[in-house]
Symmetry: C2
Subunit: 312 residues, 2 copies
Amino acid sequence: MTITQLYYVLAVAENQNFTKAAEKCFVTQPTLSMQIQKLEDQLDILIFDRTKKPIELTDVGKKIVNQARNIVNESYRIQDIVDQQKGFIGGEFKLGIIPTVMPTLLPMFLKNFIKKHPKVKLKIEELSTEEIISKINDGHIDAAIAATPLEEENIKERVLYFEPFVSYIPKNHRLHNHKKIDISDLDIDDMLLLEDGHCFRDGVINLCKAFKNQTDDQFQLESGSIETLIKLSNEGLGMTLLPYLHTLDINDKEKENLHHFNEPTPAREVSIIYHKSELKMQIIEALQDVISGVIRGAIAFQNVEIISPLAK
Amino acid sequence: MTITQLYYVLAVAENQNFTKAAEKCFVTQPTLSMQIQKLEDQLDILIFDRTKKPIELTDVGKKIVNQARNIVNESYRIQDIVDQQKGFIGGEFKLGIIPTVMPTLLPMFLKNFIKKHPKVKLKIEELSTEEIISKINDGHIDAAIAATPLEEENIKERVLYFEPFVSYIPKNHRLHNHKKIDISDLDIDDMLLLEDGHCFRDGVINLCKAFKNQTDDQFQLESGSIETLIKLSNEGLGMTLLPYLHTLDINDKEKENLHHFNEPTPAREVSIIYHKSELKMQIIEALQDVISGVIRGAIAFQNVEIISPLAK
DNA sequence: CTGTTTCTATAAATTTTATTGATAGTTTTT
DNA sequence: AAAAACTATCAATAAAATTTATAGAAACAG
């Protein structure tokens, strides 16, 4: 049994297809067929049920795949130990970012980071919180930036910053003339929200519920991006809430529609999160340092109240 | 990086010697030299400090060895999954047994076990509790039989039986004419004990302390085996305590010196213990079944009070 | 139902890797 | 100072992984 064989098994299990798996492994398909057969012969058991199309794992196969994933991941940590010893910060690093953080945060730290750590090959992907959790667990991404706390058993969190919510209230809205907004003013029924799956949406719903004890009624309108949200709001379809960093780059006319909250300002907690195994921890800490550095100048709220991103 | 290379690293780390390690791995010494060099080259770091004699691990080397042990052990679990699936009970199994259990328990279950599970190659070793804990942790033995509870973080326990203590009181002893002995009668100063390191000794000390609150004074005499203990006691050097199973095969004349305790009878808990990773669990359960079976007929005490084997 | 596509297994050739036996060079021991 | 113990190195060999080519089976499209 070799680590390579286990890796091949994982690839086939994931792709449910020898040919595709072979491509991902950068070998030819017969290599996979033969190596996996060899492993199956040695163990004297079938890992894959090849009668099913697409190919399926047998019952033992499933258990073997879980253990194989373990072993392969643990084998990566050997290189990790060496990197850590050398203080080496480099190599490929896959980072997931939730959509409502991506467009504002990424431009703020990316240049800084690649200048400071040129050996790191950052691969950034926009992902929902749900996708992030799953991909951290199976090792498809090394870390992610998301709204926290998530209370996931196998995932650790390090807070990067607290980002206040700011109300965006168009001219014709009942609250437009309020100078400062109070949380108790919010009414989920005239609030524009992002579509389902956005944790930001869940955060806002929690925020409203916290003060109104409202049930899950239907909402007026749902959108996929905060950009759209602002435009819909301008059309008079309701007010909305924006994460603070988004308010920095809207145009002057629209800035007039921004209303800050009374203290304690509702805010979301944004963290870098990663698997508890702490693989590539040096890079995670490097990211944390750079991001905390750039944020320190950008957000200066004192008295905030954290809104959970978890749907309750 | 291969599992074999990691295995070689473990062997050299353990033996502090390439030549001996090579023998244990059933390969020649150049194989180890070359494979370990290759791994060191790939990682671009030295695992062993070859200037020291005998050879030593570097700082990174120590971390790598720990991780390598992880990986190698986890790789064994693949075969384990298959065995478990097949209900296969066989292969090599290393069992440690503490000295005060070995001579009485082993003859009771060994024949039964090898008859019932002929495919298991049992390798039994007499070990102190301390050695057992260390060898379970580093995987040198698969399980052990010891007095419990041990409260070891990485070790699980399954109770096999409770074995009462019986007083052995020679003719000239002050307690000889007592029909039944009470725990409060015990005096650690005229009690013969096994030498340091025997958990049975610690159990007895705990037993005395429990009722007399005595400090760690020096003891009259110390012996390495229960056999010797009885003989020394016959010579008038004091009374002693025997685990119940030992009292079954002493001669008739000596049997007259046995005095049972008043209830609740003090007893030790004897368990099969194993690493929390539960490797080879089928065999452990098979052992548990067989031993529980043979003991059921041999020990029939009802009201017992468990004495901890841990030195307090 | 038939030709086409998709996919896996197999075989032989080739490349790569692991292992060995012989030996040289060190260090340690006597 | 000689012997013993130990590791590294080298060339030869054995073992293995991988590839190219291809056969055969199943799924698919018309």
